[in-house]
Amino acid sequence: MREFEGSALKINNLLYLFQQLLNILQIGSIYAMIALGYTMVYGVLLLINFAHGDLFMIGAFITFLSATYLNFGFIPSLILSMTATALLGVTIERTAYKPLRNAPKVSVIITALGVGVFLENLTLAISPYPKHVPQLIENTIYNIKGLTLSLVQIIIITFSVVLMIGLDFLVRKTKLGMAIRAISWDMQAVPLMGIPLNKIISITFAIGAGLGGAAGVFYAAAYPVIDPYMGIMVGWKAFIAAVVGGIGNIRGAMLGGYALGAIEVAVMVFLPTTYRDLISFLLLFILLIFRPYGIFGKPRNVKI
């Protein structure tokens, strides 16, 4: 009898582990999608796009609008959100960052911070209260041998994996991807090879922002209460994920996103929830001291 109890406990533990693994995949996917936007923009412009977290927030708000007023389902909302945030990303790049291409780097970073604060406060001025997003995905729960699996989780994980594989293919196998990699290799030489620099940079912004917007939709589907400041914390954390993977490195950003998700879920399992941010940032701090360029990042050579 006792033996039986023991094995039941073991099965329970294993189930618990898988359950947490699902949580890691869910939150990690969202972080990874946002981290990709940071890392792509950094790859081409060497700029930390501090407004990126707010593009994620805008994506969630567009989902709210389309679901509430247009009665859109999940996929139409996703398409609308991704298009709108991609357009917004390009607009920001064209109006705010492009005039500063040759300015001191710090001015560009401050501009990015300013754009972020602007987006937050504009949204806050328009909708002062947190909004509740209507249910986008049917709340179906599957039970496979004790493992509970919700439709939301499945959809978030599949869609983001598909999008990320698509991006990886785009960057590694297509001509456009080659141009993006070329810019991050040497920005000065690229226009000499007949590659339209500004166009490629805009496309990179569009892709990054679109992925951020998609993450916003996923977030709104999983955690339906949204507010204008939600982009700050999630954005910074995704940024950490990008840094952990080595900023500028696309596969690193994906891995960083899942690693951060794993750390957060682990902290929430073993410690009170309030320690979540403390531990994540503490680990980042320690990691940066010992590996200043992230896990996969390489230091850029600086000529004197």
Partner: protein
């Protein structure tokens, strides 16, 4: 030759007299305003905000403007100063003595913040640029979420119980001290080292500048003043919570520095004053002022990337020798 030196002496004497006059006038004026309530309480409050923001801007400008590093977590140092001084005030001096020991309490807050500055100074030996920005950022988040988890300082609920000890003369005095010390620091030989790190760290270390030592001192001085500003702020608002020292506060400080212009004391004073006063003047706009401010910042950055002063300086804050050489 001796005429030239006389000329130099004259400039130095003139400077000294002007400084003493400005200091004395500022102190008397602020004492009078405080004692006889000449100005409206609200205007006095705004003046105190301006003073605290000048101290903060100067301290951040030392790192971001003069040393060329990129710190985005200065609100963390401010938090240390604010919490240490408030703890002292409430736990130990919660009586008549509080008023007398207030300057010491503020000083201790600043010194503690200065030592915490070491935590960021040491990683900066190896890490530069964007990655150091991330280190300071995570430092800020660690301080904030750390404070949220310590129940004895109120956790996320915040901490209160300080009496309103910050008055206009105190803010004025600390502002004068901050301007004086930071001006002399950046014009000293250490300051030259700080500037050389901004221009090129490798080259400056080849020229026998001890970059590690200079980084430690600059970070400690900067975080000391951030702590002082935090202590003054805590005793003015009489309520602090981890949320008052988050990244939004750090962003605000960055905006003031880059609005005024990096590497310029005059710029810091102007930037902090313009930002604080503009924000108060726009108050009738309600939430829309918070939309307008970042927009103004973006436009300013596009058309004037170096801020109002942009590496220039009022000749009063330059060393006398510069003036002397120019007049010669």
């Amino acid at each position: 030759m001796s005429e030239l030196f006389n000329n130099f002496d004259k400039i130095i004497k003139k400077r000294l007299i002007i400084s003493i006059i400005i200091f004395a006038a500022g102190m008397t004026l602020s004492l009078c305003i405080h004692q006889y309530n000449i100005l409206d309480q609200y205007i006095q409050l705004v003046m105190m905000y301006v003073g605290i923001n000048i101290i903060l801007t100067l301290s951040l400008n030392l790192i971001n403007g003069y040393m060329g590093e990129f710190s985005v977590g200065h609100a963390g140092f401010m938090a240390v100063g604010a919490y240490v001084s408030s703890m002292l005030s409430v736990r130990f001096f919660n009586n008549d003595i509080g008023q007398i020991v207030f300057p010491i309490v503020v000083l201790i807050g600043g010194i503690c913040a200065g030592f915490v500055g070491l935590i960021v100074a040491v990683p900066s030996f190896r890490i530069r640029g964007d990655y150091l920005a991330i280190v300071t950022l995570s430092f800020n988040m660690i301080v904030k979420s750390g404070l949220e988890n310590v129940d004895s300082v109120g956790g996320a609920r915040g901490f209160l119980g300080m009496s309103r000890l910050t008055t206009l003369p105190w803010v004025m005095l600390w502002t004068f001290i901050a301007v004086w010390i930071i001006r002399n620091f950046v014009n000293s030989s250490y300051g030259r080292g700080v500037l050389s790190i901004r221009e090129d760290e490798t080259a400056s270390s080849l020229m026998t500048v001890n970059t590690q030592k200079i980084k430690v001192r600059a970070f400690m001085l900067s975080s000391f003043f951030a702590g002082i500003a935090g202590a003054l702020y805590a005793h003015l608002i009489q309520f602090i919570s981890p949320r008052s020292f988050d990244l939004i506060k750090s962003t605000e400080m960055l905006i003031m520095v880059y609005l005024g212009g990096i590497g310029s004391i005059g710029g810091s004073i102007l930037g902090a004053s313009v930002y604080t006063i503009l924000l108060e003047l726009l108050r009738p706009l309600g939430i829309w002022r918070m939309v307008l401010m970042p927009l103004l910042l973006v436009i300013l950055m596009i058309y004037r990337p170096n801020g109002i002063m942009g590496l220039r300086e009022f000749s009063f804050f330059k060393p006398a020798i510069d003036r002397f050489l120019r007049n010669k």
